[in-house]
Structures are given as structure tokens and as C-alpha cells.
Symmetry: C2
Subunit: 433 residues, 2 copies
């Protein structure tokens, strides 16, 4: 069911590379379809959006304006969902906001003795597009996770797009949009939605950045419009890496592995432990608990194709592997885990101690659940307020300061053969003479 | 020589769009060449690097090891350059470090009443690759601008690659590497250098992120390896936008426009002013000063093809256009410019007041000269220490905290149909009972 590996065995390095290997299939057919749709939306605006929506989502509307949902429609959704779900969404939103507040960057500046002012001005993006998938992968938690950092950053307008194939609307998703403070919602999806947000149409406003998950058409479209607008990362399958000392309830560990594996068949669940007997008991828990799971088939496929229980020498050895794997989710389920945090260099989110199930972080602990996958935690970060802010450098020279810096600038400009640079600095110096 | 436009004239919006339009030519031929080289370096490592370097740079070496420059070689370069250039580089480096220090993100955490700890751990990237172009575009200032933020972030190893076609080495570039604290230098360039940094070879170590400017082959290679490693932005041509009240010396303004235009024929220099007579005097300055410029031909071509002097209604109108254009470099050359900074939302770097020539920021003011181009300042920032740090979310729940959060998490997980998520949270709650 789930493979066993030994990290001290010969050939382990290569085996691990194979286990981790994942490359999104670059499909020329998808790229061609997406480029055509984007070009059409760019050229024909609303008319193209309406046509592609009719064709792909079987949604009949007279005009692009009819694709917009009113604020009242979101209020209706909020009133329609079960009270406990509404309260859970509101509590989660509140906790996400509290955490996000601490990520907010502030402008700063300092003044030098000669009167020069140097600084950095931090401002929110003007307008952000949020893609929300329709159908089975419609997750209200993702709406909160993507929209709240943008609103905390101060983004004036968050524009959500969500496909409603055959007109089927998900009230929980709309309720989450209402709670998160989304400003406008259009029921359009796919590459046509990405195109509308990137180029703007008569009805749908152009945005500065597009975030949120989507299928391969959406991912390809985001990649294509990148540069004209900002995009968040293109996510690979979800992953969890658990390090355990063998003293956590094996059922808890099994269920944590399941909670990742149930996302989809490519999801990756890996456990590292030094005690082979513990790995046996976790295997037994997996076998016992799996049949009751509603998503047992997906879980089984994910564990079989991409899961692993790996025997390691000790916690030091496990941490070495953690930094090499750079997992999206890392659970440190061992005594004194908090004292080893400083040794973890590469991980999207770290769940510390036996009580911190990854699922808490997926919904309501506070930190974002949009995290770097496929080893990209080596160089990238969870989605955060910083993704919705940008910085402008500020340089304000006094006459004296300009004269002083001008000597250095002119010397280096001439060393690089850029005479106009040098003269532009010299002019200000000479005015001082 | 340089076009005149009126921002209040009919059709201006479309004219401005045309003026700003720049799209890097996506060349299938370049992509194919680059993909082949990358695949070859990935497969054959050192042998491929040596062969492509021999073929493309006409540099004969026995082994990849011979491509590495020793620390002594950098010391020799530092001793060989003129003393005033060395001092200027050292002063610039010191100022860049002082500014970069203020950008450094720090880890933080907070504890909730129930004992939950939430936080964010900030760590440097392990290893960074710095691409430095060879030949005529070899800019020592770029070495400082790219390497110093990485070292301030705490990156343990900065690996520089620089092509030396026909064995020609630029001592000023090596001296800058020495001053900036670059750890290793390899004389290899092009797609083969990017491939070596992305995949690693027997001799050249794999890095986590690749930064630095390069020609279209380098840019295409960076785009191709993105995802496996991080990359900085793919820069378009350099731009300056000057807003002037008509009371700055027109020769200063002309020279500032030149200093951008001399970079290359695609560079963009634009001036906004309300007084048509002032635009006339700037035109006269341009005509008088241009012939003496060593790079007059490049400047003339850039001003002719992409430059503009634009008449606007007033400063308010100018600021509106600034935010629409989102320039890489913005000069605010008017009385009281510092009081209008809060209205500037989109700009890479802002040069405030008549004395702040853009050239000061290019070399030594402190802020980075690697800035977002082609309107991407709407959603991206100057290169900074933050580009060499990453964040990991920290969630550490107490038993009580896990039980409390578990209620909300399980409710939302079930609303999304993810039962294993719910049970993984429930298990910890039940242990509390």
C-alpha cells in the first residue's frame, strides 16, 4: 500500500529523487487553446468572455454585465449557509486577519548628516484578481486565504472570478467572499477569466495581479499573462512530511498522512522515523483506518504512488532530509520539536508538536494555507500580505549630498563608459561651486 | 529628434499606449537553442559546460575546474584597478549595505491565551547564483547591486558566473565581486551557465535562485529553469520618467534624459511638464548637448524611437500619468515634490527634488538599481534583501488550543467534503476529553 524506505540504504538518494520528482506536464495542446482564448478576450473583450462562457460552462447570458453577482446575492448566500459554517468561516477570517496584520510592511526612511533622505515607500497593489475554481474543488477556505491578505494589505479592489458550470453556484464560496471583503464577483472561469482580468474588458476591470488556484488551463493562462500582471506561484500537488519520534499515537499520524493524500492522487505523504517498529504500527493504523474513509480510493492511490514511510538514523538525520526535501507542510511530531526550529531552513509551514494537526493550519490557525510546493520552499514563501504590497525606493538628495555622491557616481559611470550618467551627476556638483 | 505630445489632446491615451508598448520578442529559435543546451548540461554536467564554453566563448580549458577563478585572482584584480575606482566601489558597497540592512526581515511570533504559538520564521536562501554579462555590458555596479543584498540577507554562498569570451577578463567586475563578498566565480556564461547553476554539475554547485541581467539567451534560460530555482524578474529596457515644474535647469533635465537613453536604443526617456516653452528649452538643450556625447548615436536612436516630451495640465495631471505609466525610474523635479510622495503609487525608484540625478541612484545612493521595468512597478519591487530571504509559517498548538481550533477546522473540512482533515483535527480534541 505505502512503500517503505531506509535512508541509510545504498541507492537511497536516487530513490528519494525519484519519489519527489514531479513535473507538471507541459502540454502544447493546452497552451495553444489557452493562447487562442486569451488573444480573443484581449481583442473582443466582453463579447469573447460571454461566448467562451456559453461554450465551456453552458451558461447563457445576454451580456457580460449579467455575469456579475450583486452584493445582495452574496448576502443571500451568507444567510443561506448553516449557522455553524458561517460562524466557523467568520472565526477563521478573524484569525487570518490577526496573523496577516503582523506581516504588513511599513514605509521607512532615514536622513543622513548632509541632508540626504533615503527610504522605501510601501503601497498596496491597486486591484487584484482572485481566481476561484468551480465544481468539486470549490473551497471556501481558499477564498479566505487569498482575499484576506490582499484586503489587509489595503488593496482597494479585489475582483473574484468563479466559474458556475450549468449555472450551479456554491453558496459557501460566495459567503466566504462576503466575509473576506471581496469587492466584485463575476461568474466566469477558465482562460477567459484570466484573460479578462489581465487585459480588462468593457465590464471586467484589468487587475495588477492574479492569485488563486485553478486547473491546467487556468495555470497555463496565468503563466502566459505573467509580466503584464503579477501572478502567485503555480502550485504543484500538495505534500506533507512528518518527522516523528515514535511516541505520537500512530492513528494520529496515519490520519495526518490521509488528510494530505485525500486532496488528490498526486498528493504526497511522507513519514520519517528512526524506529522500524513504529513504522509498522503506522502501517497497521493505515490499513485499519483507510476503509472507513469516504475518499479511501483517492487516499490509497496517493499513498501507493507517491507516499513513503522512511526509516532514518535519528532526528538529526531527519532534519537533514527535511532541508533537502523542502516540504510544503512539515509536521514535527517529537519531544522538544520547538528547540529544533532554528535548524529548519526549508519548509512552507511548520506544525510543531504532537497536537498540531496540519488540518488546523489548513483552515483557521492564522497562517496562510497557500504554500510553496515541489521543493520551492527553498526560495519562496507562503502567500502573505507582502504579496499584495510593493515597494518604491526613495532618494532625496540635498545640494550638498548630491555634490558628495556625485563624485563617486561620476567615477563609476566613467569606469563603465557611461558619460551621460557622469555628466548628469557632475552638473549638480558644479552648481555647488 | 524627440516627439512632442499633449496629454490633453484627442487620442492621447492610445498614443501613450503605443509609446509604452514593449514586448520582448518571444523567439522560437532562441527557445530551442536554449532548451537543448540546458538539457545537455543537465545530462552531461561539466563535460557539456566545457564544450559549450569552448564553442561559444572560444575559451579552451581542460576541465570545468579550470573555469573557476581563485580568491587570489580576485585580490589581484582589486589591486590592479585604479585607486579612485576601488575607493568608489568600496564607498558604494558600504552605502548599499547600510540601506539593505534596513530591509532585512526578522522572525516573529506571538502566544495566544490558550498557549498556541503562531509565527513566521525568516531564513536566508542557502545558495544564490549571480549572472554577470561579459563584454561591453559588463557593469561592476550590477555586481554590487545583486550580490550585496544576498550577503546582507545571510546567503551562505553567492556563486557568480561571468563569460570571458576569448579569455578576456574584466578586472573591475572581479574587484566588485571581491568587495561584495562573492564566494565563488566561474568564467562561464550563456544558457550553459544558467543550466549549471540550476541543475548543478560535478564542479559548479546547484543554487536556489539565479539573479542578474543577461542577453536573450540568458533570459530565455532563466525563464526555462524557473520553478526548479527562483529567478529575479526578466527586465525590459530601462526607463526614466521626469516630472518638472519648468524651474530646473533644462540642461540638467536633458542630461538626465540622455543618461537613460545611452543604455541602449530601446531605452525610454519621457518628460512631463505643463509649460510648452520649457519643453522648447529642453529640446534646445538636447540639440546643443547631444553632439558632444560619446554615445550620441545610441541616445539619438532611443530618443527618436521611444522618447517623448509631453505637455500636461499641471502636477496633478502629471501624477495621474505617473501612476498609469508605473515607471522604473521617476524623477520629481519640482518644488515641494516631497509633499506629493504619498500620491505616487506605482514607481520602481523615486528621485525627489532637483538635485537628485537618477545617476546617483544607479551607483551609490544606497537603494538598488535593479528595478521593475515595463509597468511592472504596479505589482513588483526593487531587488532587495527580501528577495534572498524566505518565510516559513510556524504553528505550535497546545492541547487546549488544538481542541479549540479543532472544532472550527473540522466544521470547515466537512463543509468542503474533506473527512480525513476533519478526523485528524478531531483525534486531538478527543484526547482532551
Amino acid at each position: 500500500m505505502i512503500r517503505r524506505m531506509n535512508a541509510r540504504a545504498a541507492g537511497f538518494d536516487r530513490q528519494l529523487d525519484e519519489l519527489l520528482d514531479w513535473s507538471g506536464v507541459a502540454d502544447d495542446r493546452v497552451e495553444t487553446i489557452v493562447r487562442d482564448i486569451l488573444a480573443d478576450v484581449r481583442k473582443r473583450g466582453d463579447a469573447a468572455v460571454v461566448e467562451h462562457t456559453r461554450r465551456l460552462d453552458r451558461l447563457e447570458v445576454d451580456s457580460a454585465g449579467a455575469l456579475e453577482l450583486s452584493a445582495e446575492r452574496l448576502d443571500t448566500a451568507l444567510a443561506a449557509i448553516p449557522a455553524e459554517v458561517r460562524e466557523a468561516l467568520e472565526l477563521a477570517a478573524e484569525r487570518l486577519r490577526a496573523y496577516a496584520q503582523r506581516q504588513k510592511g511599513e514605509s521607512w526612511s532615514y536622513t543622513e548628516a548632509n541632508g540626504n533622505v533615503l527610504g522605501q515607500q510601501v503601497t498596496p497593489l491597486d486591484r487584484v484578481g482572485l481566481y476561484v475554481p468551480g465544481g468539486k474543488a470549490a473551497y471556501p477556505s481558499s477564498v479566505l486565504m487569498n482575499a484576506i491578505p490582499a484586503k489587509v494589505a489595503g488593496v482597494a479592489q479585489v475582483v473574484m472570478v468563479v466559474p458556475t458550470p450549468d449555472g450551479v453556484v456554491n453558496d459557501t464560496v460566495l459567503a466566504a467572499a462576503r466575509i473576506a471583503g471581496v469587492d466584485r464577483v463575476f461568474t466566469v472561469g477558465g482562460a477567459q477569466a484570466v484573460g479578462a482580468l489581465a487585459y480588462g474588458t468593457e465590464t471586467i476591470p484589468a487587475v495588477d495581479k492574479i492569485v488563486g488556484p485553478g486547473n491546467i488551463f487556468v495555470a497555463a493562462a496565468k503563466r502566459e499573462v505573467f509580466g503584464r500582471v503579477g501572478i502567485d506561484m503555480i502550485a504543484g500537488p500538495s505534500e506533507i512530511l512528518i518527522v516523528c519520534d515514535g511516541h505520537t499515537d500512530p492513528d494520529w499520524i496515519a490520519m495526518d498522512l490521509f488528510s494530505q493524500a485525500e486532496h488528490d492522487e498526486q498528493a504526497q505523504s511522507i513519514l520519517l522515523a528512526h524506529d522500524p517498529d513504529f513504522l509498522d504500527t503506522v502501517t497497521a493504523s493505515i490499513e485499519r483506518l483507510l476503509p472507513q474513509q469516504p475518499r479511501a480510493e483517492i487516499i490509497a492511490k496517493a499513498l501507493e504512488s507517491r507516499g513513503a514511510l522512511i526509516e532514518v538514523a535519528d532526528i538529526d538525520h531527519a532534519i537533514e532530509l527535511v532541508n533537502r526535501i523542502a516540504p510544503e507542510h512539515l509536521e514535527l511530531s517529537f519531544e522538544g520539536a520547538e528547540d529544533r526550529l532554528g535548524e529548519i531552513r526549508n519548509a512552507g509551514a511548520i506544525f510543531v508538536g504532537r497536537y498540531t494537526a496540519e488540518a488546523l493550519g489548513d483552515y483557521c490557525a492564522g497562517p496562510n494555507h497557500v504554500l510553496p510546493t515541489s521543493g520551492t520552499a527553498r526560495f519562496s514563501s507562503p502567500l502573505g500580505v507582502y504579496d499584495f504590497q510593493k515597494r518604491s525606493s526613495i532618494i532625496h538628495c540635498s545640494a550638498d549630498g548630491a555634490a558628495e555622491l556625485g563624485v563617486t557616481a561620476a567615477c563609476l559611470a566613467r569606469a563603465e563608459g557611461l558619460e551621460a550618467h557622469a555628466q548628469s551627476a557632475d552638473y549638480r556638483r558644479e552648481s555647488e561651486g
